[in-house]
Amino acid sequence: MLANFVITPILIAVFLYVFASAKAAKIVAIIAQTAFTGLAVYLFFQVKQYGAIITSIGNYESVMGIILRADTLSTVFVALTAISFLMAALYSYNENEGKLFWFLLFVWQSLLIGIFLTRDLFNVFVLVEVAAVVVSVLIMYNRDNRSMYDGMFYLMTGIIAMQFYLFGLGYIYRLTGVLDMEVAAEILSGLDRSSLVLPYALIITGVGLKCAILPLFTWLPKAHGSPSAPTVVSALLSGVHIKSGIYLFMRVQPIFQELDASGFFLVIGTITGIAGFALAICQTDIKLLLAYSTVSQIGLIITSLSIGNEYTTTGAMYHAFNHSLFKAALFMGAGILSKVYGTRNITDIRGVFRRFPFLGCVIFLAILGITGAPLFNGSISKYFIMYGTTWYITWLLIFINLGTIIVFTKFSTMLFGRFEQKEVVVSANAKRKGETDFHHRDKTAKLRNYAESIPVNKQVAIAILGLVCFLGGIFGSEFITFLFNVEVSVDAAGYLEKTMIFAVSVVAGILIYRYVVRDNAFLKRFRAIDFGFRGTCAAMGGFFAAVLIVLGFVMN
């Protein structure tokens, strides 16, 4: 039964590519995605009611075959994938993307669902590798100037990381004789700690690159912020695809229970969080800012996963869930804005609230979500992330959130102010040259037409995401209990305290933005920070060596 979840999208993809026309492909895609979302939600309820479902492919006994398993965590991610892809399909309904786009989109979906469902470590390798190929093609889908470099960088770093992973997998196979995650975890728990350090270091280097933790994140802004990628691809990359890395991180840690690497990842996660927002503040490109903000949020999630108490782990999972929703909404909003205004530069986009009140409100909802404003989903997940942590970790988390607030203060400057008609400047130029400006006037008229009516399907897609951000906050603890089967409750006094901290952070964030960040020439220097390909390979080697040294000698 579970295998169908992986196979069906690929079959639909092939069907669309071979038989359907480009126009029919869209309609079939939306219908198929709706049906698939229904199935994913049905699977979620099944698992919730009857417990984990296990399917062995080929009907082999025990661990001889490949085992697919749907438990609470994986079904949540499967449902999330289905919903995100439905929204993506809805968003790109009115765009003429062609059949290839839909084909790749469906294949990508099935690969992601495969990653979330499989229990076989080699299966994970195959799926991640093929997903890297599919995503690199999608990144350069529009064949922009920059796209080839971005796509190739993403593909090559991803493949090299997976070679590390495969090498570590070989060690696991030698130690245990199985490729199944759970059985391997059982056997490895009885082994000597020192024999696990090398395989762990190899595997976590591969998984770490997929999560984009600190020295290994350079591919992320290129892939997620690439100007050539269609908007939905960026939204899905930052929304769902990066969660597959987090999911693997959560699955790999229990295999090596003997090695307690949580202290190491606590440090790495915090540094990632801080570096992510520090780089995001320097950006002026709307997509790059959101991409670096993703790095920061990933750092937050890794940190809270490493703290290791039950509340913070639940908070991290809920935050991963929430991050998919608001980041997808923000990327989609950014896609609409950059198209309407004809630029991706934040400083040139002003007055969204005046021109498009509805779109502005939805983007504002998503911003409130990601900064953790009271009553929004981000506040609930951040409340649980900070629950019961020691004081210095709490302050670090508050600091990371302050950084997020500064980043999104910069982002929200787009919403306010008055839009200055750039087209007028263009036509004035044309007049100076003594030309009639028919052409420009024409362009302006076209722009206005598009501007006055943002396509309905785009509005619906982004509005649903924004609304879920709000609902996820109001029914926060019910949502968590519903999704993860963990009984939690929000303590009113603690929540009020967090609200106060949020209010202070907002004031501080706006002041810091106004007096420190804005027009700061020093920060502009960090905008183009880039290790390059060779630097990223060196970072992989360095990260591997660091894990080996820290776990082998320091934390021994």
Partner: protein, 114 residues
């Protein structure tokens, strides 16, 4: 030949190829290093199949010297993926070199920024 020699050789090859990735300036050499890295992993997996004294997974009367077939099966998959990835990388490289008139990482990075 003892399988441990193959294993040590595979590990050495893996890190030599990583060194190649870090130091080679050209994209083509980078791709070649990546292929070597894949070969290193394949060699390592093949060395796993020849542990003495393991039980044959199928067939009872095969004797003592049996090889585990699973690593070989896995590596066929990995090799196929590797070939596909290399082909895609080469295609991208052709497009890249036509566009930027160079195949060096550093120059590509600089031109990409503009």
């Amino acid at each position: 030949m003892n399988y441990e020699i193959v294993e040590i050789f595979a590990i050495a090859l893996f890190f030599i190829s990583l060194f190649g990735l870090i130091t080679s300036k050209g994209v083509i050499k980078g791709i070649v290093s990546m292929i070597i890295m894949e070969i290193a992993v394949v060699m390592f997996f093949l060395s796993l199949g020849f542990q003495t004294g393991i039980l044959p997974p199928i067939g009872a009367e095969l004797g003592d010297n049996v090889a585990d077939p699973l690593p070989q099966a896995l590596m066929i998959t990995a090799i196929i993926i590797g070939v596909a990835v290399t082909a895609i990388n080469m295609t991208m490289l052709i497009a890249l070199s036509r566009q930027f008139k160079t195949t060096e990482w550093d120059i590509l990075k600089k031109k990409n920024m503009e």
